[in-house]
């Protein structure tokens, strides 16, 4: 993984604070609209492909990812998906936004849709996998060390680390190919437990961590 969204273990973000009581679901009305628009437009492209949406989030620049907050980042990723699939022209949202605030701005014509030729085999992400799981509870496993951005759900902090299978989870379609509309490739998924010192070195706080690993993210470890 790596990239803008791979935050696990990053330093420099400052201190946490006690959770505020009675926080509204949406801090401002636009957040609710952006949430709903994103959820609906995702389904207009080619199935409700959550992985393609996450892949769009991963491709945002720092301002688009962080400065507009969580639902702002959804809005920006939704626009990326809508322009890539030819539903909206590039710049269409900004042109309309500027008109809304009174500017005389020309709007680009609607493009020819170029939606991916792709349909999911079923709703959701869980899939049956015919072959037996390669690993069982208690097996020692290592996450691949050189996991580039094509490993969309393998955070850098776990790469090359050795842990123990804690649970065998239901099979999932593989986000890495699904995100690109290149097939579901269902795989077994394992919750793998790591010791904090394996992840962060001998001085780390003592704790355990589990993370879900797709079969192709793992190799056997002795």
């Amino acid at each position: 993984m790596g990239g803008i969204a791979d935050l696990g273990g990053q330093e420099g973000w400052g201190a946490a604070a006690p959770p505020p009581a009675d926080e509204p679901v949406f801090a401002e009305p636009w957040e609710g609209r952006a949430f709903a628009l994103t959820a609906f437009t995702m389904g207009r492209i080619s199935g409700r492909n959550l992985d393609a949406f996450r892949h769009s989030l991963d491709r945002l620049g720092p301002a688009a990812y962080f400065d507009d907050g969580y639902y702002g980042r959804w809005l920006n990723a939704a626009e990326l998906m809508l322009t890539e699939s030819g539903i909206l022209a590039e710049g269409a949202v900004n042109a309309r936004a500027r008109r809304l605030r009174g500017e005389e701005t020309e709007e680009p014509p609607a493009p020819e849709p170029s939606k991916p030729d792709y349909a999911p085999t079923a709703a959701g992400s869980l899939r049956e996998v015919e072959d037996a799981p390669r690993f069982g509870v208690g097996d020692r496993v290592r996450a691949v060390a050189a996991a580039g951005p094509e490993f969309t759900r393998l955070p850098d902090y776990a790469c090359g680390r050795t842990g123990t299978v804690e649970m065998v989870q239901p099979g999932h379609l593989l986000p890495d190919t699904h995100a690109l509309f290149r097939g579901e490739n269902p795989q077994h998924v394992y919750s793998v437990r790591f010791d904090s010192r394996e992840l962060w070195g001998p001085e780390a706080e003592p704790f355990q961590l589990t993370i879900e690993m797709y079969d192709s993210y793992l190799e056997p470890a002795s």
């Binding site: 609209r33 491709r59 704790f207 797709y214």
Partner: protein, 204 residues
């Protein structure tokens, strides 16, 4: 991940997300791709119907009914449906883990903000904050203390990083002094933060 896409960037300024959301809604409505009343209904559903009350009802049932608790810990997704709405987006497979006096689970999603929507609603601001996403997988005891939860040194912490479609729900400890309360009386004591593992449930 070399792309640095920023649709709001005009070079001299960034357009506000509020204005851009309004623009996007207009464009999609004009094209017939969304309808205003459907959007209204969807927002209202997540503002009032889908929220942590569902998770609180599941936990209260587990506290008063040992057989239900056993089913919940064995197959969370199915047991949740006995008590509350289950399934759907971000709820395809929910695993429930129990916090005890010696073991404390806490949930995060470092790569985005995956969260068990059917039982907890949409995630709160702190869960989506880079501070939490970055640090709770590296120094959970320190982060929990900063959030107001001091754990004894002999309590084992287990962090759950939600990197697939598996979603985690914490079954918190039932607080001492609530033995006489009914299931209905327990529900309002159970707050969202305890169901993610950044707080404990307090007796009234």
């Amino acid at each position: 991940m070399t792309t640095q896409y920023d649709p709001a960037d005009l070079g001299t300024e960034r357009l506000s997300p509020a204005l851009r959301t309004e623009a996007l809604e207009q464009l999609l409505t004009e094209r017939g791709l969304v309808q205003t009343d459907v959007i209204d209904g969807f927002v209202a559903k997540y503002e009032s119907d889908v929220g942590p009350l569902n998770g609180a009802r599941v936990v209260a049932r587990a506290w008063v009914d040992p057989e239900y608790k056993a089913r919940l810990l064995k197959n969370g997704t199915e047991a949740i449906k006995e008590v509350a709405w289950g399934g759907g987006a971000n709820g395809e497979h929910i695993v429930v883990v129990e916090n005890t006096p010696t073991r404390h689970n806490v949930v995060v999603c470092t790569l985005c903000s995956c969260y068990p929507w059917p039982v907890l609603g949409l995630p709160p601001s702190w869960y989506k904050d880079p501070v939490y996403r970055a640090r709770v997988v590296r120094e959970p005891r320190t982060v929990l203390a900063e959030m107001g939860l001091e754990l004894d040194d002999d309590v084992e912490i287990v962090v759950r990083d939600s990197s697939s479609e598996v979603r985690w729900l914490v079954l918190p400890e039932r607080p001492a002094g609530t033995e006489g309360l009914s299931e209905e009386e327990l529900v309002p004591l159970i707050g969202r933060d305890a169901l993610v593992g950044v707080a404990k449930v307090a007796a009234p």
